[in-house]
């Protein structure tokens, strides 16, 4: 038993060298494999979630993300929806739009966004909307996040 354990120990110790090399040589392969096998994604609370609607505005786009209510277990009572406007060079100085994020054909909120000042005001048209969470610069545009109440809860 002692001898067998010793042989196994030395074999595992020697195996550590190829494992170390494989970690670096196969980094790209293993990384893609990890993502494919687990289906892991960046949390929508971080990146705003998937874009589900793109509205062409003649030179620029309004991109509406999937409303985010994801919680650790099920959905949260409150979440947000993110709306992006891009590209920056084609944006008007003030964006005034109606946004229909739930795609029911009716505006959910009206927004007036000052592109240079990176500030916005919203007018609620839907009782699910709580308030403006923030107005942000993007690499190539502007974005807002609007707090929502989850009507499924």
């Amino acid at each position: 038993m002692g001898r067998a354990a010793s042989i196994i120990g030395y074999c595992l110790a020697a195996l550590a060298i190829p494992v170390a090399i494989a970690t670096f040589v196969g980094m790209d392969f293993f990384s893609r494999g990890l993502v494919a096998a687990t289906g892991l994604k960046v949390s929508p609370w971080m990146n705003g979630g998937d874009i589900i609607q793109v509205v062409e505005r003649g030179g620029y786009q309004t991109q509406i993300h999937q409303p985010v209510f994801d919680g650790l277990f099920g959905e949260k009572e409150e979440g947000f929806v993110q709306v992006d406007w891009t590209p920056l060079k084609n944006l008007p100085s003030v964006i005034s739009e109606e946004v229909d994020f739930d795609r029911d054909g009716r505006a959910d909120f009206k927004i007036s966004l000052d592109v240079e000042a990176v500030s916005a005001k919203i007018t609620n048209e839907n009782p699910r909307i709580k308030s403006l969470e923030g107005c942000y610069k993007l690499k190539d545009g502007r974005a807002v996040r609007v707090w929502l109440i989850n009507d499924k809860r």
Binding site: G9, A13, A16, M27, V42, S43, M46, L72
Partner: protein, 379 residues
């Protein structure tokens, strides 16, 4: 316990070959500054490995390289940020674009949300860009298999800071530290894991990471972010600079870092450990006094083992006057009188250290050469 020079040279050759492959990928860079930087870094790593093998002293040379890597990491990271972003500050645009480099310290916090929601609560990218989430997870998994908590002494690019500061004074000014404090990292780990899961945000990064002070931090646009920034800087000064200088211990790593506590668990699955030959040991207590991470106490020494928080830095091995403390391979006899276990551990550990730290030293040297020759870091 050293090795004859010719034998050390022979054992260094495979490492030198692997280092050459890793650092050049078969071709030296075209730019002169980068070329010189690669050659200097390669020489440094090769010589240091030879010295580790030849002298029998692991800690002495590892600690020097480890500190150099931490300094170079921050220098090259900040220089790169300034080059591409114009500042160390992370803007909301960077966060929303997923441009935040993922670091291993956040791994314990993302596990529960990843398991339950299949999402990573970090504003990075899964596969794209520098330090993507998936690549760091792969790196951590590989290193954990090979090194266990040895990660904290061979692969962590932050650990060299408190290691370096802990070596500045010859004698500690604060000598008595209650062993109870060693439970603190577990408490921080528990708090960070639960709060991150509850808020679905990386709590440690947002509130507690001392190394934000020397890498990147969110642009101060609100009182909340200002408070966070003050906390980062205070923790860095207290835990990484002042206390290590006063105690000669790695305080951040040993008494605060939640990732370090989490990484202790991986020592259980790792084949390498440090053992004390109780027949040789005369209970002088030097190893307990010198351990930088509080990983030895009189009970563990009596049992011939280290505590599970051992980072395999080699300090106790270097300092034991009777050679009673040695690197060991689980399943084998303790203190066989040979250097095999130490050399077998040194190979993969050094590969991780050079692969992670090499590029950081190369970048820093290239920036400095550019500055010396062209008057600008960026050439």
């Amino acid at each position: 316990m050293g090795t004859k020079p010719w034998k050390a040279l022979l054992l260094t050759l495979p490492m030198a070959f692997l280092l050459a492959l890793m650092m050049t990928q078969g071709k030296l860079p075209d730019a002169l500054a980068a070329r010189v930087a690669v050659i200097l870094t390669y020489s440094l790593f090769s010589v240091m490995f030879f010295l580790i093998i030849w002298s029998g002293k692991t800690y002495k040379y590892r600690a020097i390289l480890f500190t150099i890597i931490a300094v170079c990491f921050c220098f090259s990271f900040i220089a790169n940020l300034i080059e591409i972003r114009g500042s160390m500050a992370l803007t909301k645009a960077d966060i929303l674009a997923g441009d935040t480099p993922f670091c291993h310290l956040v791994i314990p916090a993302v596990i529960i949300p990843a398991a339950l929601t299949r999402t990573i609560i970090f504003p990075g990218s899964m596969l794209e860009g520098f330090a993507s989430i998936a690549s760091m997870l792969v790196l951590w998994a590989g290193a954990s298999l090979v090194l266990g908590r040895g990660w904290c002494s061979w692969a962590c690019f932050f650990g060299g800071f408190d290691e370096g500061f802990s070596r500045l004074r010859k004698k500690a000014l604060i000598k008595k530290i209650d062993q109870k404090w060693t439970y603190l990292p577990w408490a921080v780990l528990l708090a960070v894991v639960l709060l991150s899961a509850a808020t679905l945000s990386p709590f440690y990064c947002q509130w507690l990471c001392p190394f934000k002070a020397v890498t990147e931090f969110e642009q101060v646009t609100s009182f909340k972010i200002l408070v966070q920034t003050v906390i980062f800087v205070s923790l860095f000064i207290g835990l990484v600079v002042v206390l290590p200088v006063l105690t000669r211990k790695r305080i951040q790593c040993g008494l605060f870092c939640p990732f370090a506590a989490f990484q202790s668990l991986t020592n259980k699955i790792n084949v390498f450990d440090i053992r004390v030959d109780t027949d040789k040991c005369k209970n002088c207590g030097i190893c307990i006094k010198e351990c930088p991470t509080f990983s030895l106490d009189s009970k563990s020494v009596g049992e011939g083992r280290t505590l599970m928080s051992c980072v395999k830095c080699g300090k106790c091995v270097d300092d034991c006057p009777r050679g009673a403390v040695t690197y060991h391979i689980k399943g084998t006899r303790v203190n066989t009188g040979s250097d095999t276990a130490r050399v077998l551990f040194a190979y993969p550990a050094y590969l991780f250290m050079s692969a992670i730290g090499g590029s950081m030293i190369v970048s820093t040297l290239a920036y400095l050469i550019n500055y010396a020759t062209a008057g600008s870091l960026y050439g």
